[in-house]
């Protein structure tokens, strides 16, 4: 874990309201693993007492990129960020996805919203190619399709309005795909997205008997395990305990997670 001042190198819109922000962060980049996140201090919001957490999307040389969307005060204030500006970054934080993938397993990635970001980083690190299930409200909301295909991955798409791929949630093509003669034991699922999707997927994994790793999104304070703002109830060897999403997470195995609402 480090604090590093990162110079903005690039800040480019990639459609559907999302932007990719690339920072020069040699120290943090060198330590990063897929599924980890950074905690960003938004300089243009000096009165904000909390940093903002973002998954690591890309790491190249000494640079680190995140993929984000404006949803409130902080992310709005990030919009005008220009090359050369300096941001204080805390990271890399949390535990990433478990690597390496056990031999003979097909990786299945399931993404909603910004969830494609950590999963793309994961896909680049995985030896085995697999399939990405990605959803969105409409065609334009489907992110990073070309990037995943460029890595040689299959991409299965679902849109709520049916304007692209299957109509409905991403779980629709996923269910179909799993049913068509997969041996559950032969696949391992990695997912990141809205809590609703993580929950739905979690239940499928438990019932369907396949391994699934979920990256959870919780409001955070410190990001390092000190404030206990981000806790999640899990069952570990039969015992319920509260774990910190920022520290023991954000990635948890589906069968351990206890969904309270």
């Amino acid at each position: 874990m480090h604090i590093e001042n990162g110079k903005v190198l690039q800040h480019i819109p990639i459609g559907a309201g999302y932007k990719v922000l690339t920072l020069e962060l040699p120290v943090i980049a060198a330590a990063a693993r897929p599924g980890q996140f950074i905690h960003l201090r938004i300089a243009s919001l000096p009165d904000a007492v909390l940093r903002r957490p973002f998954s690591i999307y890309r790491v190249e040389g000494g640079t680190l990129s995140i993929l984000y969307k404006a949803v409130g005060r902080g992310t709005e204030a990030m919009q005008p960020l220009a090359s050369g500006e300096i941001l204080s970054v805390l990271g890399p934080l949390g535990n990433g996805f478990p690597l390496p993938l056990p031999a003979g397993r097909t990786p299945v990635l399931v993404a909603g919203g910004y969830g494609v970001a950590p999963l793309y980083y994961l896909a680049r690190k995985l030896q085995t190619k697999g399939v990405l299930f990605v959803g969105g409200a409409k065609a334009a909301d489907v992110l990073l399709e070309d990037e995943f295909r460029a890595l040689g991955w299959d991409v299965e798409i679902a849109t709520e309005d049916g304007s692209r791929g299957v109509k409905g949630l991403v779980t629709v093509p996923l269910d179909a795909w799993i049913k068509t003669g997969r041996t559950e034991s032969a696949l391992e699922c990695f997912a990141c997205g809205p809590n609703g999707l993580m929950k739905a997927l979690g239940h499928r994994a438990v019932e369907g008997g396949f391994k699934a790793w979920l990256s959870l999104d919780r409001h955070m304070g410190c990001g390092v395990g000190a404030c206990l703002a981000c806790v999640q109830k899990v069952r570990i060897d039969g015992e319920d305990t509260l774990v910190r999403v920022c520290k023991e997470g954000p990635v948890f195995e589906a069968r351990d997670v206890i969904w309270e609402d």
Binding site: H2, D47, V49, G221, C222, A226, A229, V231, E260
Partner: protein, 304 residues
């Protein structure tokens, strides 16, 4: 000339007057990768109760202008869990370890205090009678003179460690609470805890926090805290640990000039984990610039 930063707080020798506040710095290890604990005057660990406690449901935290509202609900591993998991780590470091304790009954407080009395490496107990996030106990004690007296005297009776009641800000006469704590055996006082506060999501019309209400902390409460420290300093002679909205040496110095012997950094740890270290450096610079020999020379030096 190098100004003396070290202080004597109710018999606890501290290399400098800067501590990290309970609940904002965990139990020590969490920030140790970013902050050299040996450079801090003291750490006040997250509130500990007799038995492990789960705290409130999430969301437990929300940012507001000038600070944040928290309703963690005092989640903690209990006395045993804490001593096993964290004391070995803390003992390895050169800083004062102050354990923040709480209970739901007077007996709880006394029992927790007793348990810590002989724990090696614990330098003092901060008695949290002012947590805004407990239905029973918490600020129910800290806003009632008679209940405050009962808790403090009960704790006093069961431990030889210095005891430091932590006062609630939502009282009309902080001096009266300061006095009753001292009369019942307090060696020092911490003030202040966070303010009872509430945020409502106007779109859903639901409280933002699962606990409905929480405690407000951060820069916005600092001027209120300075006033309370100033009043408490006039009321009692014991050393005061000032807490509330410190983000730099400036706020810490205001507290010391108002009458505090030490200060604790809370919410600012989340914003900039190294805030406490910067406050230490800033105080040293200030003393040099003003040709003051020591922190002691600054305590309560406000000119009226």
């Amino acid at each position: 000339m190098h100004p003396k930063l070290d202080i004597n707080l109710a018999g606890i020798r501290m290399k400098n007057p800067v501590m990290v506040a309970s609940g904002t710095f965990g139990y020590g290890p969490e920030y140790s990768g970013l902050v050299d604990l040996n450079k801090l005057g003291a750490i006040v660990v997250k509130g500990i109760s007799l038995q492990p406690w789960g705290g409130n449901r999430t969301p437990r935290l929300v940012e507001v202008p000038g600070g944040l509202i928290n309703a963690i609900g005092l989640q903690n591993p209990g006395v045993e869990g804490f001593c096993e998991k964290y004391m070995p780590f803390l003992r390895k470091h050169d800083l004062a370890v102050i354990v923040n304790i709480w209970g739901k009954t007077v007996e709880d407080y006394a029992e927790v205090a007793a348990r810590f009395s002989d724990v090696e490496g614990v330098h003092a107990l901060e008695v949290n009678i002012s947590c805004p996030n407990l239905k029973a106990g918490g600020s129910a004690f800290g806003t009632n003179l008679e209940a405050t007296a009962r808790v403090v005297s009960a704790v006093r009776a069961r431990t030889r460690l210095p005891i430091i009641p932590k006062l609630a800000p939502n009282v009309s006469d902080i001096g009266a609470f300061a006095r009753i704590c001292v009369e019942n055996g307090a060696d020092a006082l911490s003030l202040i805890n966070s303010f009872p506060a509430m945020a409502i999501n106007v779109e859903t019309r639901r409280p933002v926090l699962a606990n409905v209400t929480g405690g407000l902390s951060g820069p916005g409460i600092h001027p209120i805290a300075v006033k309370l420290v100033y009043e408490a300093a006039k009321a009692v002679k014991v050393p005061l640990i000032a807490i509330g909205g410190i983000t730099s040496a400036k706020e810490a110095l205001e507290f010391i000039i108002a009458g505090a012997t030490a200060v604790a950094v809370g919410t600012a740890n989340f914003t900039e984990p190294q805030t406490a270290l910067r406050v230490v450096d800033g105080i040293a610079d200030y003393l040099k610039r003003h040709a003051l020999p020591s922190v002691d020379a600054l305590i309560g030096s406000v000119r009226l």
